[in-house]
Amino acid sequence: MTPFKVTIIASIVSAVMLGVVFELIRRRRLRERYALIWVMTGIVLLVLALWRHSLSTLAGWIGVKTYPPSVFFAAILLFVLALLLQFSIVLSRLTDQNTTLAQKLALLETEMLERGQRETAGEEPG
């Protein structure tokens, strides 16, 4: 069982994390789309902190008996890797969109300039 002090500290840290996420959404610094994962993470961490048998129980289910926290570390590591992959995907999409935007803008500018030149040329006949 987790020592009482650790439970308190872990709970406070999880609660603060949830609070920070909430404040970021409130200030419109974080879109709800991306908030989903962080709210879930905060809730899971809070549950793990408050449920004092969590680590040994969860480790027992998987069959780890020697060092239960290793399950927690492994899970966190996988989660962070998944998040990084997700960010890379989003970053790739943003890069593609940025390219498309730049091309569209440049083409529009060319079209506008050439149209302007045609009109100027048309105004001076002979």
Binding site: F22, R26, E32, A35, L36, D96, Q97, L101
Partner: protein
Amino acid sequence: MRAESEHTDLALPPEIARMRRLAIMPAYNEEGSIGAVIDEIRAFDPDFEIVVVDDGSADRTSKIARARGVHVVTLPFNLGIGAAMQTGFRFARANDFDLAVQIDADGQHDPAELPAVLAPLLAGEADFVVGSRFTGDRAFRSSFTRRLGIRLFALIVSAIARQRLTDTTSGFRAVNRRGIALFAADYPHDYPEVETTVMVVKHRLRVMEAPVRMRERAAGRSSITALRSFYYMFKVLLALFVDLFRPGDAPEEDA
């Protein structure tokens, strides 16, 4: 796609002639229905200008709309319904329209119901009118879970608005100049319908519901799949909850 016979006596009131009116039609891969919807709006009221906001469709949506001579704004890639609608409202504000109506390109919204949705705006009784599938005696059939979700949102929004609202997820809605200015300035991203209603209330604009009948979509499929329903619920509930802790915005002035 024919208008119900019982609506034929409904016509737009004469004062609408002085109003510059715009139908904003967000469309994402709606080549199967968009042409008919445009024709229907025109048949109903030829002076209704139409702007199609093509949200990065891969099909001929923009081409079909452009061939009919309506305004077409083609977004370079899919931005989502919220950003597409805001594009429409920015078009409305930039071009000085008095009224803007959202009409989905899938044929769900019957232009014959326009008088019901526009009447409170024309009478000066509301700044924002939502065509509700639940008010009045016109029934709306849908799956049980979906109705449950719609009811839950209606309950929450009614409490926030201190006013009975029955259908906050309806996409058939109309705004006057104040509404256009507000939505051009700020509009939610994903699944925006519920939040916009709360936004309007917070900016002290007047909300009203008008009973309308909606049709089955003429083509395409609903974007709400089972997997997305969870995100829909989560996103909207989170947004509504967080919004309770935002300071009340100042009333939007007519820009």
